[in-house]
Symmetry: C2
Subunit: 301 residues, 2 copies
């Protein structure tokens, strides 16, 4: 799993900081998560291929998370896109994009599937044979979802040594990978555990932004490989976090700790702070493995 941070600052785009957007490479997919103004320029800067994006997940309809979407949708058209595009986001997103395209008489020559979200509880919104994506309902000033991206448990790994030793015909290999035992010609049953190893543990990535401190998400994101959690404020602005329904770095760390995640990545920093180092410092008091997102940064899990 690879995570490219296109932008991770709150509120307005500035000369050196971009509003929220990230690209998650998982399975064969390149998922775009949120799309603040300037996302398409960040995609170009990081040399990420527009044509590989087929699914876009929008957490909520504040400008710093989706004002880059109309432009990206238009650019896809100009680039001659024909493949369909899936957009997942709060109810209303279809009307917004459709109205903007209509006003410019700029209909796309590819089909856009809008998957409008309204559920108050978690729901699976994408699934194929390798990956699933489910919403993580959050608490913010408007209807907001985080997203949990999960790899599925893969096939078992064939023990090359064991199948050679027991002279198992290769016709059985797929069955073994699927977890089945093998019955030999003489009636001997070779148990699957003898012939294969456990598949790698599936990885998962939880994206939680924007949200007030919301401890009831920890069950859903339990043991995630990585958690991106917004930390708009430091403790000194904890009252402002409550008022604006955002989180502090310490609160993000408390979620990471309760959810037993492997790594915590902080982001969505208010631009009021001169440096982002203090976010790690405050979060580290609660949870050990804290990393700081920054525009253009790349993480691999």
């Amino acid at each position: 799993m690879k995570l490219h941070i296109l932008g991770c600052y709150a509120a307005t785009p500035r000369t050196l900081t971009n509003p929220t957007s990230q690209v998650l490479e998982i399975g064969n997919h390149m998922f775009l998560i949120d799309c603040g103004e300037g996302t398409q320029v960040q995609l170009r800067k990081l040399k990420l291929k527009f044509s590989r994006i087929n699914h876009i997940f929008i957490s909520h309809l504040h400008g710093d998370h989706f004002f880059g979407l109309p432009g990206l949708v238009s650019t896809f058209r100009l680039l001659g896109r024909e493949k369909e595009l899936h957009i997942y986001g709060p109810k209303g997103i279809k009307d917004a994009i459709t109205l903007l395209l209509k006003l410019g008489d700029s209909w796309t020559n590819y089909h856009i599937h809008f998957h409008e979200l309204t559920s108050a509880g978690p729901e699976v919104i994408f699934e194929d044979d390798k990956v699933s994506v489910e919403t993580v309902p959050l608490t913010h000033r408007v209807y907001t979802n985080g997203f949990l991206f999960k790899e599925k448990l893969g096939e078992r790994k064939l023990s090359v040594e064991a199948v050679a030793k027991y002279k198992v015909d290769k016709a059985y290999f797929q069955n073994i990978k699927n977890g089945r035992d093998v019955t030999m010609d003489d009636g001997t049953v070779l148990p699957n555990a003898l012939l294969s190893f456990d598949p790698p543990k599936p990885k998962s990535y939880a994206y939680c932004s924007d949200t007030a401190y919301k401890p009831d998400i920890v069950g859903q994101i339990d043991h995630a490989t990585a958690l991106y959690h917004e930390s708009t404020f430091l403790e000194s602005e904890a009252d402002l976090a409550v008022k604006t329904k955002h989180s502090t770095a310490k609160q993000a760390a408390a979620i990471a700790k309760s959810a037993h995640v492997e790594r915590l990545i902080l982001g969505h920093y208010s631009t009021r702070y001169k440096s982002i180092g203090l976010f790690r410092q405050e979060a580290s008091e609660v949870f050990p493995d804290v990393e700081l997102a920054d525009d253009g940064k790349f993480f691999e899990f």
Copy 2:
């Protein structure tokens, strides 16, 4: 008059080129003309004060001319703006901005006056004691207006020498500036032309983008101090210009020539061309005083 080019390239924002937006300083105003995605970042880069923008003119509702507007409107709010904002643009612009604000439950704490344009002919859409702005109806794929910004004729300049020579009391000075003659105590009439000079010739700036070649605008923009005219294509793509209702550099020059403007500034270049030098070359065959807009460039008239 000062013109700051924030962006002058067609279609999509790229790493080094921005879609259309410019700031015109005229009178005490800082008018924003068009607002492609990334305009607010360009304003910051060029250190132009957000708070001085009170009037925004949008030519048409294609994304490369207005997808930066929702973000700018939101940023004004975050910056604590209280002054009202005037937005002039095609009918539909109010619905678009209002819907986006509504979806984010992000109402502005300042008032936005939308001046929706529908007229097929030119109309004065702004006027104060120093400046007027009128629409220049253009021909494009959607309803589009250029804008003609005109200084008003100022007061006549007092001839300090003449008023001293004829011992004119300073109580008459304002009358003289207003063009009146002066009747002295002995009944002598001093004609105004003796006591004052013509005011400086009012300057004007015509912004014409996007548009197909449209010779019938030349009467309205006759003798403009400067004309910014789109030149999306070179002659080699003249057929494409017709098809997409854009202009070539040569056609922009033909308009400049017929309208007897003092200077022609080209812009809205298609990003298909490696260098923009050829635009000047082709236009110069028709009109002598051709300049090339470029992002971050500054013109003074």
